[in-house]
């Protein structure tokens, strides 16, 4: 298949593995930010091909994993109301809230639906004027423009029955939080290519400078990941820091300017809570006052629902790259994709789930 097979050829892959092997003379720890990248790494077996000098740790870039527990509880409270249709991306439905997940609410009669595009939720509001349609707007900068567009469109159509439950998070503050954490052992980053398609990569330049780390904007195919890693290891070996762009076929330094304008119009930056991590300053989006009418938390008065996370799960350390999933005493024993103890075991992009599904038990 065109634009896919080119990035999955065994000879090319081996060439880059060999190049990384030749380049790495000392041990290095590199974090891939995005859950999609983790998924590719484990699914194609790249993690097992790398020389022992290079350790990959899996970052917090899985939207399902970092959406805070109380947001799930709020979504469940909304979905339980008879007048609402709760609309979500597919893999949010399995994430456990405090007592149950959205799949259970659906089984008990809640109207919970899956869409591929937030604009489909707007269409649903148009065709169901007697129902309240609530879109569960989660994700990083990648999904934010489409979610912003849904609100924009709803305002254009003057809809009174559409709102979003917003839980958007941003990558750069999370990277800063990880680098600034006392236990951090991350020495270089593969930045999330798709996030940068929207935002560009200039906002990573001050981070690279401040913490003196190489950050390589990287794509999602096996060859992308290996090339990104090769570039990161080369920079580390040469003691260079700064931002480089491996994913140049999709990412420009300035990113997608119209999308950014839309984001600025609809959202403002606020502190956000991350599941398994805690509050990170200025790390998320919330609706601007001009769009408060479309804020589901206000409309349904669920903003007060809070939840406390507690258990043996070491998700925080995993999302920060301090420990590997298999180092958790619950991994594969008390915690499996069927019975997730923690968010990283839920989504296919979660590090624990990827390890479990693809047999990384050692």
């Amino acid at each position: 298949m065109k634009f896919v097979d080119e990035y999955r050829r065994e000879e090319d892959i081996q060439r880059f593995v060999e190049s990384i092997r030749r380049t790495a003379t000392r041990p290095w720890t590199v974090m891939e930010i995005c859950g999609g990248q983790t998924h590719t790494l484990i699914r194609s077996g790249i993690d097992r091909m790398l020389p022992e000098e290079v350790t990959l740790v899996h970052g917090p870039g899985c939207p399902v994993c970092v959406t805070p527990l109380e947001l799930i509880d709020r979504a469940i409270a909304i979905a339980r109301r008879p007048e609402t249709i709760l609309v979500s991306f597919g893999d949010m439905l399995r994430v456990p809230g405090s007592d149950e997940d959205l799949l259970s609410v659906k089984a008990q009669g809640g109207d919970v639906r899956i869409v591929y595009s937030p604009l489909d939720a707007v269409k649903m509001a148009v065709s169901n004027p007697d129902r309240q349609v609530v879109f569960f707007a989660v994700g990083f900068e990648t999904t934010a423009p489409a979610n912003a567009m849904s609100v924009w469109r709803a305002r254009e159509l003057d809809l009174d029955n559409f709102s979003i439950l917003c839980s958007h998070v941003l990558v750069p503050p999370a990277m800063e939080a990880i680098l600034g954490s006392p236990g951090s052992r991350v020495q270089g980053f593969l930045a999330a290519g798709h996030v940068c398609t929207v935002m560009g990569f200039h906002e990573y330049e001050p981070i690279a400078e401040k913490f003196r780390v190489p950050i390589v904007v990287t794509g999602f195919e096996p060859l992308d990941l290996l090339q990104g890693l090769q570039m990161t290891v080369a920079a580390l070996e040469e003691e260079r820091w700064g931002v480089e762009n491996q994913y140049s076929r999709a990412v420009r330094r300035d990113g997608n300017l119209p999308a950014q304008k839309l984001l600025r119009d609809v959202f403002e930056v606020r502190d956000r809570k991350w599941r398994g991590i805690g509050t990170i300053p200025k790390s998320g989006y919330a609706l601007r006052d001009a769009f408060e009418k479309f804020d589901a938390e206000r409309r349904f008065g669920v903003g007060d629902i809070s939840a406390r996370e507690s258990s043996d799960c070491i998700a925080g350390e995993i999302l920060q790259g301090l420990r590997k999933p298999a180092e958790c005493s619950q991994f594969g024993v008390g915690c499996t994709p069927d019975h997730p103890l923690g968010a990283p075991m839920v989504s296919t992009e979660g590090a624990c789930s990827a390890y479990y599904r693809y047999g990384r038990e050692e």
Binding site: M1, G36, R48, E176, P281, S311, I314, L341, T348, R357
Partner: protein, 355 residues
């Protein structure tokens, strides 16, 4: 960007699990581990007997000196009409194939209809006509049936249950328990066509070409391959719900063997691969309705493969892997780029990813 004080990760923790669902979820019908749990805990737990324990596509019973295969299947598909078939043809193919997977020649079929008030007669006509055509094609009469009507809103147009019996010829011994190290794993053609075709219609996805379901009766092809392979044919399985991955996992677990497959030789149509890439699906877990997996003695593999390829439905048949002694109960895949990974049983349903 701000970093007044470092975020404290040491106290980070995760939520309490949902261990048991108090109600049935859609995922219990997905053909993965949740379905398996339901079957094992409830149905096998209560109904246990030697014929059922094999957990094959049908039961094989000794009656009056001959071996009869007996199988049943229910069809609740939406949309009722889809590219490549409809609920009627699917209901016939499904049961015919389940019988064929027992090594049986289908003899007779029953059909039970649950009709929803308001179903257009024209739709029912189209469905029954295709059932007749599908049954005639394999020369199996529909010999008994049942009809019920439920209130509008209590059904989904029409649900169909079919059951069938067939005779297993002497010398044919097909069972998931017969998979053994050294055997070769064959598949009769491209995988994931049915699931992706249904998904595209349901979600309104458009591609350059129309994706068609592979819904078809495998009886003739299976007869041909059994004639060619005889006792060398150890296991037959049609990878419907849960796809090739779930079918191979079930076989590996039951026969206590390992299975290795090679991603490079898995037949997947270009457009199906594209759809899977877009939707974040793995074709190994997507349903098929006109394909079968054959696990065959290494010495008979070439003969069986040739026989399959002579049938139009098996023209693209391929050897995709082998049965091994190592890692019993587990399926491993060699990835396109030379890595390796486990192919686990699907947990619930495949859900589209966020990004």
């Amino acid at each position: 960007m701000s970093s007044e004080k470092p975020v404290d990760f040491s106290t980070a923790s995760c939520p309490i699990p949902i261990s048991e669902y108090p109600t049935v979820l859609m995922a219990h019908g997905g053909g993965g581990r949740m379905t398996q749990m339901l079957i094992e805990r409830f149905f096998l737990g209560e109904f246990r007997n030697p014929a059922l324990e094999v957990l094959h596509d049908g039961a094989v019973l000794e009656i009056g000196g001959s071996r009869l295969a007996f199988s049943t299947d229910s069809f609740v598909i939406q949309p009722l009409f889809f590219p490549g078939g409809n609920i009627g043809s699917l209901a016939i193919h499904g049961t015919v194939n389940d019988l064929a997977m027992c090594g049986a020649r289908p003899t007779a079929i029953s059909a039970g209809f649950i009709l929803e008030e308001g179903l257009p007669m024209e739709d029912l006509w189209r469905i029954t006509r295709s059932m007749r055509a599908a049954a005639e094609e394999v020369d199996v009469p529909i010999v008994t049936g049942d009809t019920k009507v439920v209130d509008r809103g209590k059904g989904d147009g029409v649900f169909i249950n079919t059951a069938g019996i067939g005779v297993v010829p002497a010398g044919v011994e097909v069972s998931p328990l017969r998979a053994r190290p050294g055997d070769v794993v064959l598949v009769s053609g491209s995988i994931a066509d049915h699931g992706i075709a249904i998904m595209s219609v349901r979600e309104g996805l458009e591609f350059d070409t129309t994706l068609e379901s592979d819904s078809a009766s495998l009886a003739a092809m299976v007869q041909g391959l059994l004639e060619a392979g005889g006792d060398g044919v150890h296991v037959l399985r049609d990878p419907t719900r849960g796809g090739v991955a779930s079918a191979l996992n079930e076989i590996a677990a039951q026969a206590r063997v390992g299975v290795r497959i090679d991603e490079r030789v898995l037949p997947v149509r270009e457009e199906v691969r594209g759809a899977c890439e877009i939707l974040g699906f793995d074709p190994l877990y997507v349903a098929n309705e006109g394909k079968c997996l054959v696990i065959v003695d290494r010495d008979s593999a070439d003969r069986v493969l040739e026989a399959m390829r002579r049938d139009p439905l098996g023209a693209e048949a391929a050897a995709i892997g082998e049965v091994v002694e190592e890692h019993p109960g587990k399926v491993y895949l060699r990835s396109t780029i030379g890595g390796s990974r486990i192919v686990d049983m699907l947990s619930g349903e495949q859900l589209p990813r966020i990004c």
